[in-house]
Amino acid sequence: MSAISREEVAHLARLSRIAMTDDELDHLSSELGLILESVSKVQAVAAEDIAPTSHAIEMQNVMRPDVVVPSLTTEETLSGAPAREDDRFKVPQILGEE
C-alpha cells in the first residue's frame, strides 16, 4: 500500500491544474509513496521547540521607496502572449465568474 493513494494524487493533480492520464496517476502514486516514506524521517527530529527557517539569511525590513519607475511598453508586455486582442491578453473563457 502506497503512502499516498491514487485518489489523493488525482486531487493534487486537480489542485495543480495538470490533466494527468490514468497511467501517470498510477505511477506517481507508487513513486511518491516511496519518496514520502523516505522524506518523512524529518518528523523524527522536528521537535516542538525548534523554530522553522524560511530564509537562509537573517534580514528584515527590506523595502523600496514609493516611487514610480518606467514600466515595460505594452508591446513588450504582450510580446510572449499566446493570443492577444488589441492591447489585452486573450484567454479562453473563464468559468465561475459572476
Partner: protein, 489 residues
C-alpha cells in the same frame, strides 16, 4: 585569454568566432547548447574590441566568451529553462546577472542545456535531449547545469554561469573535471533567475580554473535592490584570495557524515589524497560532526518541491509560453490543465505533486513544516562547526559520472547524487567543487567540495587555489588537459 585580449594578440571577435567554430565541431556530440546568439555575441565582441582599440579601460574579462545556463533571462534571446513550456519565449528583460556580464563586456555565446526548470542531477530531464559528458559521451555531465559544465570541459567556452539549488553547479563540475561555485545565498542577485526553489536558488560562476572562477564571481556578485533577498554588503575579494596560495595554519574540517560511507572507492581515494595535499600545504585537518546532515536530503526533497509547486504555477499558458488545446470550445481552466500536462516533463510533474502535497492542509506540519525545522538544525550544525574550523570539506558527490539512462527510472537513486551538496543550500552558505583527480577504476573526474561560512566565500577560493596548484603540480598539468579529444565533425 584575458591577457591575450589585453595585449591585443587576439580580438574578442576572433575569440568568439574561434569558440563558435569549436561549438560547430563538437556540439552535435556534446549537445551543451540550446541556443547560440551569434549576432548578439559578435556585436558585443566588436564593441569591446572598439573600446580597447580606442584605449578605453575595460574589465579584464571584457571580450571573454561565456556560456549561460538557460534558466537566466536574457532580453530578446530564447530562454527555455530546458522545458517545452517556454519553447520560443524571448524575455523582455535581462536578469541582473546578465546585466552585470554585459557591463563587464563578457561575450555571451549562447544558452546551455539543463534539467527542466533546474530539477535533476543529470540533464536527462531536459525537454530538448540530454547533454553528454565530454569525458565519456555515454555518460551524464551532471545536472541540472550539465550544459554549462560540458561546454567548459569540451572547450566550447572558457567561462560559464550555472545555478545551484541542491548542487546543480557543483555536481556537474565534479563529474566534468571543472570548477563551479555556489556563492553565499543572497550574494548574487536572483532577479531574472527563473525560480525553482526560491530560498535555495543561487546563480554562480563556473570555469576550468579556480582563478577564472574567482574573476567571474566578482563580476556577477553584488547587491541588487530588485531582489529583496540580496545582501547589501561589498563583494569579497575572490581573486585576491585565489592568488594568495597560502593556507598555512588554516583549519579544515572533514564532515564525518559526508566522509564517504558507501561512496565509490575511487572518489574516497582521491578525496583523501587531496586532504593530504592540504596538510602538506600547512593546513590542519579536523574531524567535525554534523548529525543533522542525515536529514538534509529528506528536508530538501520537501522544501524544494514545495516552493517549486508554487513558483511553477505561473506557467498556465495565459501570458507567455505554449498554449495547448485552445480551440475555442474549452475553458481557461481546461486549457491550463492540458498545457501543463504537455508542457511539463515527468520529473517536474512529480515534484509539483509532491510539493503540493507537502504544503496541503493537514500535511503542512508533518512535511514542509518539519523540513524547515531540519533546516534550522543544519544551520546550527554548520555554525557550531565553523567555530572550530575555517572551512569544511567533503567529496562533491558519491560517484563519478554514471551512464545516461542508468538512474533515470529511479528517482530516489537519482536524488542521492546530491547528498553532499544539499546541506550547503539549506544553510545558505558557500560551496565550491574543484577537480581532485580521476578515479582509478573508471578514469573519470572526481570533485572535491569546499564549504565556507556565509559571506566568507573568499575562503573557498583561498583553499581551492592552493589545492589546485598542489594537485596540478603533482599531475604535471591541469586536469582538463587530460580530457579526451573529442571527435571533430
Amino acid at each position: 585569454m584575458s591577457a591575450e585580449l589585453a595585449s591585443g594578440n587576439v580580438t574578442a571577435v576572433e575569440l568568439a568566432s574561434a569558440h563558435y567554430d569549436r561549438i560547430s565541431a563538437v556540439d552535435s556530440d556534446v549537445h551543451a547548447f540550446l541556443h547560440l546568439d551569434r549576432e548578439g555575441a559578435l556585436a558585443q565582441a566588436a564593441s569591446v574590441d572598439g573600446l580597447r582599440k580606442a584605449g578605453e579601460r575595460v574589465h579584464p574579462l571584457a571580450g571573454v566568451p561565456l556560456a549561460l545556463k538557460d534558466v537566466l533571462t536574457q532580453k530578446g534571446v530564447p530562454t527555455t529553462c530546458g522545458s517545452k513550456m517556454l519553447e520560443g519565449w524571448r524575455p523582455p528583460y535581462d536578469s541582473t546577472v546578465v546585466t552585470n556580464l554585459k557591463k563587464a563586456g563578457v561575450v555571451i555565446l549562447g544558452k546551455t542545456n539543463m534539467d527542466e526548470f533546474a530539477m535533476g542531477s543529470s540533464t536527462e530531464n531536459s525537454a530538448y535531449g540530454a547533454t553528454r559528458n565530454p569525458w565519456d559521451l555515454s555518460r551524464i555531465p551532471g545536472g541540472s547545469g550539465g550544459g554549462s559544465s560540458a561546454a567548459l570541459a569540451a572547450f566550447e567556452a572558457p567561462l560559464a554561469i550555472g545555478t545551484d539549488t541542491g548542487g546543480s553547479i557543483r555536481q556537474p563540475a565534479a563529474v566534468t573535471g571543472t570548477v563551479g561555485v555556489k556563492p553565499t545565498y543572497g550574494s548574487v542577485s536572483r532577479y531574472g533567475l527563473v525560480a525553482f526553489s526560491s530560498s535555495l536558488d543561487q546563480a554562480g560562476p563556473c570555469a576550468r580554473t579556480v582563478l577564472d572562477t574567482a574573476m567571474l564571481h566578482e563580476v556577477i556578485a553584488g547587491y541588487d535592490p530588485k531582489d529583496s533577498t540580496s545582501i547589501n554588503l561589498p563583494v569579497g575579494k575572490m581573486v585576491e584570495a585565489a592568488k594568495k596560495l597560502d593556507i598555512k595554519g588554516m583549519k579544515v574540517g572533514v564532515v564525518k557524515e559526508l566522509a564517504g560511507d558507501g561512496y565509490q572507492a575511487g572518489v574516497t581515494t582521491r578525496f583523501n589524497e587531496a586532504l593530504e595535499a592540504l596538510v602538506s600545504a600547512g593546513a590542519e585537518i579536523i574531524e567535525v560532526s554534523a548529525p543533522s546532515f542525515e536529514y538534509a536530503l529528506a528536508a530538501y526533497y520537501l522544501i524544494a518541491p514545495s516552493e517549486a509547486s508554487s513558483n511553477l504555477a505561473r506557467f498556465d499558458s495565459m501570458r507567455y509560453g505554449i498554449r495547448i488545446g485552445d480551440d475555442g470550445s474549452r475553458s481557461a481552466e481546461e486549457v491550463m490543465k492540458m498545457t501543463r500536462e504537455v508542457g511539463f516533463g515527468k520529473e517536474v510533474k512529480r515534484r509539483i505533486i509532491l510539493g503540493t502535497y507537502a504544503l496541503s492542509s493537514g500535511y503542512y506540519d508533518a512535511y514542509y513544516g518539519s523540513a524547515q525545522k531540519v533546516r534550522t538544525l543544519i544551520k546550527r550544525d554548520y555554525e557550531a562547526a565553523f567555530t572550530k574550523v575555517d572551512v569544511l570539506v567533503s567529496p562533491t558527490c558519491p560517484t563519478t559520472a554514471f551512464k545516461i539512462g542508468e538512474k533515470s527510472d529511479d528517482p530516489l537513486a537519482m536524488y542521492l547524487n546530491d547528498v553532499c551538496t544539499i546541506p550547503v543550500n539549506l544553510a545558505g552558505i558557500g560551496g565550491m567543487s574543484l577537480p581532485c583527480g580521476l578515479a582509478p577504476e573508471d578514469g573519470l573526474p572526481v570533485g572535491f567540495q569546499i564549504m565556507s561560512p556565509a559571506m566568507k566565500d573568499e575562503l573557498m577560493y583561498q583553499v581551492g587555489g592552493v589545492l589546485e596548484a598542489a594537485l596540478q603540480s603533482s599531475w604535471g598539468k591541469p586536469l582538463y588537459a587530460s580530457a579526451p579529444e573529442l571527435a571533430v565533425k
